[in-house]
Every structure is written in structure tokens, then in C-alpha cells.
Symmetry: C2
Subunit: 426 residues, 2 copies
């Protein structure tokens, strides 16, 4: 029976050219993570379902891939990586010297309507910093995310920093109930500030405070926080800390533009202080490519409390942003393509290939279809080969190889021994 | 509510040291794949369940992680990667110039009893060669697997080559029914040849042929194939092809020991010719670390017939074999650890860090806990730092940094400007 099988909806195959781009981005990201002293870890692709509902509430069930295994365990494909990493930390790493700087690459899964930049299986790069909440620690974390995006070549990305502890205090000042806060968050997240203002007036709150709050959301000046929170003593230290972080980022981590954005909401339940987002405005509705901040999950997962912060960065949107900025990628080339002109040259062709591969670490392919020279050269071209090597009886008689520069078409003969010792891409 | 969450049974967390080893193996494997002209691809973690039952029959259901998504699609976590890659080829790559050489790294999933070297989530490296079944193409494929294992440092690995087309002909010669073949395969696979012999005599088959067959399984000489199959004309070409492949491997791909093993059975349904396995005998029952051969799935998946071959190589057993041979891995070190001696030195410490990271691509960490020098040096040591940099008011007054070699304890002072231009690991 012949069936044509389809790829599952919302998932993708990555063909060689696309995969080469993705591995390039991964290798640059890994190098930057490591340059900041982060070390890579990996957790399983699925976890107990309860791990994710404990972190994010029952609402995650709408988007989660969940199933029971043959032992009746309720499992879920991970929708994100912070909860698994914190589970691992509590299980195995609590005794490690602090701070711990951990990074990871991992596929995540969300049952979501597929659209540009949103897939059901998607790759995230991320990191967690465990054991320090000093302003310089948070500033360094934020600057790492910007450094990753700059190193990959992006220039049109914008950093915004907020603070959820202070946002909660502002909500206290406005005397919002828990339900009112929840109602308000989506509009704040979408930056629909007129909508926010209308709702606040409907709720008949103190109108001068409404004006201050809306101005704070729109104008993004931390001085307004001091005014709005002047009654709350505990706010002073946190506002100063926020200002210190922003000052460090601007003046010592050389990030040109750092915007205060008190409208960054993220998960109000487990984020506990500084939050930040990096946006690529050219991407429109899906412009957020990185998000993170200070959060608290260790206690919930049964570990000893410890300050934690981190961020996640989406591969798909990073690649879309790179396309928007028309950044180029290194081309995947083949150093040598060897063509045995007659069948009896085949064993010798592989001996040359072996020297190029093992001794000199060049990439090298040999014609595996016993084609004529014309067809073989055409194939070599399709594989972006730099040099073709022709080996025939004439060559062997003279102890030489014919090298053909695939770009210029120029050919030359070189001694076999000399070439084996010192092959040079023409 | 505080819950300690457990990792799902049979899965693993990879902490930094272990992950560093795995990424090292992956990078070596990738380099060797690329040196043979293979290009990387990736397919989704889950597929339609039917893809795997079509390839391997309903029996795979016993070990497969399967589930329905919210759209009622029957999906499965991939138990292996050949079927997904062939599905991708039929979908998207049939028009590409041949041969196609594709490689991949991917997690696979089997609901199996966890034991040493067997996990429910495990990483495979593998490749597929599409479009040539010339003897040199198959020999190159096999030598690639050996080259990967040698390059990673393994020396005690053994290559065995068999042929399932010829094994089928031998079965024809013995006049075995389809059911008898299926009954016999597990014992052949386990090399329980006395058991095989007993069963064949019980079935009252031609006893001279039984003797030849058992001798073939035990003595591993291809000449016996000619004798046993002398009545079957079509066998001559395939036996010659097998001998050519073994000759190429021994004499032109410099593989010292190539054993003929007609007892390699693998999937008799879709393997069509040459098969091979690489074993690390030190691993005992779980000694097979690589397996592959020529197979046929494209037709079954609705594509135009094309010769295909490939292999898969298990990461876990590769790592176990490396442990058995006591191979060492490059240690994960930190180039520089910067200690600001007083708090007002912190911003300057990050400026030095930034130069080391961005300009010189060194890995570098800064004390994020404002510790005393003693504690900070102890931490630097736990991170395998090569050099500690001490920055205090005295240093800044003299425009110098104090560098401390973490191995010898030796300290020296260098000019800040000079160091920024030319930092050298002491």
C-alpha cells in the first residue's frame, strides 16, 4: 500500500540550507553564552504535566501537548524551559557553588494556530542565573541577551526594562482588586493605553492617580514612579535598584537605548522584580524576540529559596529579524569534489579523499555515480564545490592531479605527493 | 503548595560536565559527517503514528510514545529517524541532484525498561545516502561510521558486514516458510547458533544444507555463500558486490578488520542488501553502537524508487565505550575570572569583561556576589578558571591590573591599556 505521509501541522522539516543557517545562529549564541561564563545543560523533552500547571496555572492546558504513557503517567511536551531547569536545579544542583550560570537550547511545543513566526514545535535559546540579584548581575544578564543579538548581526533591536514588583505597588496604590489586575493585564501588554484609561475611569478610581499611571505607561520616566509611590516606603529601594540597572546598562554595558516600560507584564505570578523584553519592530505583531527577568520558582518546587533570573530567545523570530535586515549567512561549501575519470581510478580517488578528510580536515566528496566529467562537474557546482579534482590514467602516469577552480574554470596540474602534504584550495 | 517534582522515568538531565562531553562528541561527529560531504537536516520530534507502523509493522506500538493532539490527530514521538527523513525526502527533496548525502542529530523515544545504555529518550546521530548503490558508495558509507568512532578516539570497535538479500536466498535454499524465517531471526540475531541448528533439524530440512548454513554463520567466509547458493544465478552478482565492498573497505579505506557476518538480521522487511554493525565488545550485552545498511522505504512512502542506505549511531553507547577505553575529554575551563575588590570597581570590572568577551572572544566571568578575595578565588577555582584578575583602588591608581595564574598562584601586574590590546592567558 502506498501512502504519502504528511508532516504534522505546525511543524517543519529543515532542509540543508535552512539547517545550516540555524546551526550558524546556534553556534554564535553558544559562543556568546560561554563568553559570559554560562555552561550548557539539557533537560528531557517531556516532563510531568503538573510541573507546568504548578508554574503557570491550569490555563496552560489549552495550549499544551499532553498524554499518558503506557505506565499511566501524565506527561507533557515542554511548552517552555524555565520550569524544567528549575526542577533540575532543585533535584540535583542545589549544592553547587553560586552563582550558577546555565544556558540551553531546546525545542518547545505549543498547540497554537500556526502563523508567521509561530509554530507548534519551536527552538528556544535561554539561560538562568541562580544565586545573585545584585544590580550588576541583572544588568549583565540583560546585556547578554543584547550581545547575542548584536553578535548575530542585528542592529534594529530595542531593549525595554520594567519591574513587576513596582507595578504591583502601583496597582496597590490604585486600590485594584486581584480580579481587576487580571482584567487589565492583556490591554497593558498590548499597549492599548486608552482602553486601560477608560476601564480605570469606569471603575471610579482616584482620577489623579489614573492620570499619573497612564502618563507613566506612556512617557516611561522613572521619576513618575517616585511620585506615584511616594506613600510606599518599600518602593524606594526597588526604584533605586531599577535606576541602577538602567544606568549600568547605558553607561557601562554600552547599550545605547534602554527604555523604561512599566507596561511589561509577563507572568505576574512568578516574576518578582525586574523584567525585560527585546523587540525587533520590523516584525510587526510578532516583534518580541526575547523576554525574561527575575522570577521565583525554586520555593514552589520544594527547594531552598535563592534569587533567580533568566531569559528565553526565540530562534524563529531571530531568523525572521535577520531576514528583515537582509543579513547574509556563511555559505555551505564543499572544499573538494573528486572525479575519477575511469572506473579503475575509483579506489585511488578515495585514498586522496581520505587524506583530505582525515589529515587536512577538508570537506570532500567523490563522484558516486561513475558519471561523465560534464555531469559530474555540474553536480559539483550544485554542491558549491570550490575545487574539482580530476583523476584519470593520464594524470596517474605523470603522478599528478588536475585541479579545477570551480569559480574561474582555471585548471592546473600538481604533483600527487606535494598535494597530499600541502593541499591548498586554489 | 510545595511539591518536589520528579524527572520522568528513563529520561535524564545533563548537567554542565556531562553536556560538555556530549557536545564535544557531537561536534566531532558533525565535523566528520561534513568532511564526507554530508549536509545536516532536521525533522519534527513527532510524526503521524502511521509513518512508523507502515515502516516497522504494528509491533512497534508496544514501545512507542503515542498520543492524540487536540485536533484528534494520532501522533507519535519518533522511535527512530530513517522513516521521518524518507518522509521528508518524498515530500520535498525528490528533485534535488543525486546523490543526496544527509545527516542528522535527533532525540528518539522508546517506552522500554530503562537499563545501562538504554533510556526512554536517547540521542542518535545518523545519515542517509540517497541515489547510489555502487559498491564504492556503500563502502564509503560504512567507512564513515568507522571514521566517526576512530576520530572520537575509540580503538576497540569491530566492523561486521552482512547481506540480507543473500540471507533471504539462503533461506529460500533451505526452503524455509515465511513463519519459519520469522521464528529463526531472534536466535540468529543473538548468535545462538546451536539453538538455530536444533530448530532446523527439528523442521527436518536437508541436513547437508543445515551444516553449510551453520558453518557460514560461524566461520564467516564468503566462499561458503557461493557453495550454498550455487543453484541461484541471481546470487552471483550480489556475492561479488559484497566481496567488492569488503575489499574496498580493507584495502582502500584502511579498515583493518572487516568480518563477514551473515547473521546480521536487522529489519528484514525494509533492508534490501548490504547491512553492517559496529560493536564495542567491552560493552557486553549492549555492545552494538552503530547499525545500518541498504534499505527501501521511498516506494512505500509514495516516492519514485531510488537506492538508499544509511546508519544510526547511539550517543549513549558511544559515551559508554569511551569511558571503557578511559578516553579523556577536553575540560571546560573559564579563561578569566574578574574580582572587583571594592564595590566602586564593579562598573570598571564589566568594562574589562566586555573587552575580553567581545574583542578577544575569551570566556570571562565577574564576581556577582561582592565577596571577599578569598571566597571569590575559591569560586574561580571551582569553575576551572585559568586566570583571576584583581581590580582594586591601588591597581586603578597605577593604571594596572593584577593577574593571578590559578594553577601556579603566581601573580603579576600589567598595564590596563596593554592588557586590553593584548590579553594573554598567563
Amino acid at each position: 500500500m502506498v501512502v504519502v505521509f504528511e508532516i504534522p501541522r505546525g511543524t517543519r522539516d529543515f532542509l540543508p540550507d535552512e539547517m545550516h543557517k540555524r546551526r550558524y545562529v546556534e553556534s554564535v549564541f553558544r559562543r556568546v553564552f560561554e563568553s559570559y561564563g554560562y555552561r550548557e545543560i539539557q533537560t528531557p523533552t517531556f516532563e510531568q504535566l503538573e510541573l507546568f500547571t504548578a508554574k503557570s496555572g491550569e490555563s496552560v492546558l489549552d495550549e499544551i501537548y499532553e498524554f499518558k504513557d503506557k505506565g499511566d503517567r501524565h506527561l507533557a511536551l515542554r511548552p517552555e524551559l524555565t520550569a524544567p531547569v528549575m526542577r533540575m536545579y532543585v533535584d540535583q544542583m542545589q549544592m553547587e557553588p553560586k552563582p550558577l550560570k546555565l544556558f540551553y537550547f531546546g525545542n518547545c511545543y505549543r498547540y497554537d494556530r500556526p502563523q508567521k513566526g509561530r509554530y507548534r514545535e519551536f527552538l528556544q535559546a535561554g539561560c538562568e542565573l541562580i544565586g545573585s540579584n545584585k544590580p550588576e548581575a541583572i544588568a549583565e544578564l540583560i546585556s547578554l541577551s543584547m550581545d547575542m543579538l548584536h553578535t548575530i548581526g542585528l542592529s534594529h533591536v530595542e531593549l525595554e526594562v520594567g519591574n513587576l514588583k513596582l507595578l504591583s505597588m502601583v496597582f496597590d496604590e490604585l486600590s485594584l482588586t486581584k480580579e481587576q489586575r487580571q482584567d487589565l493585564l492583556p490591554s497593558i501588554d498590548k499597549e492599548e493605553f486608552d482602553e486601560v484609561e477608560d476601564v480605570l475611569y469606569q471603575w471610579e478610581l482616584d482620577s489623579s492617580k489614573i492620570v499619573d499611571f497612564i502618563t507613566l505607561l506612556k512617557d516611561r520616566k522613572s521619576e513618575l514612579l517616585f511620585e506615584l509611590l511616594s506613600n510606599q516606603d518599600q518602593s524606594v529601594d526597588e526604584i533605586k535598584r531599577l535606576q541602577q540597572i538602567i544606568d549600568l546598562l547605558k553607561n557601562h554595558f554600552s547599550i545605547e537605548s534602554v527604555k523604561l516600560n512599566m507596561g511589561i507584564v509577563r507572568g505576574l505570578d512568578y516574576y518578582t522584580g525586574t523584567v525585560f523584553e527585546v523587540k525587533a519592530p520590523a516584525l510587526g505583531a510578532e516583534k518580541q524576540i526575547c523576554g525574561g527577568g527575575e522570577y521565583n520558582l525554586i520555593g514552589l518546587f520544594g527547594g531552598r529559596e535563592m534569587p533567580t533570573s533568566g531569559f528565553a530567545l526565540g530562534f524563529d523570530r531571530t531568523l525572521l529579524a535577520m531576514d528583515e535586515e537582509e543579513l547574509s549567512f556563511p555559505q555551505q561549501t564543499l572544499d573538494y569534489y573528486i572525479i575519477p575519470i575511469t572506473d579503475d581510478m575509483i579506489p585511488f580517488a578515495f585514498e586522496i579523499a581520505s587524506v583530505l578528510r582525515r589529515t587536512h580536515h577538508y570537506s570532500c566528496d567523490v563522484d558516486l555515480l561513475r558519471r561523465g566529467i560534464g555531469k559530474a562537474l555540474k553536480y559539483a557546482n550544485s554542491r558549491h564545490s570550490l575545487v574539482a579534482i580530476l583523476i584519470g590514467p593520464d594524470e596517474l602516469k605523470k603522478d599528478v592531479l588536475t585541479l579545477r577552480n570551480m569559480k574561474t574554470g582555471e585548471q592546473k596540474q600538481v604533483s600527487i605527493d606535494e598535494f597530499k602534504n600541502n593541499p591548498d584550495i586554489m
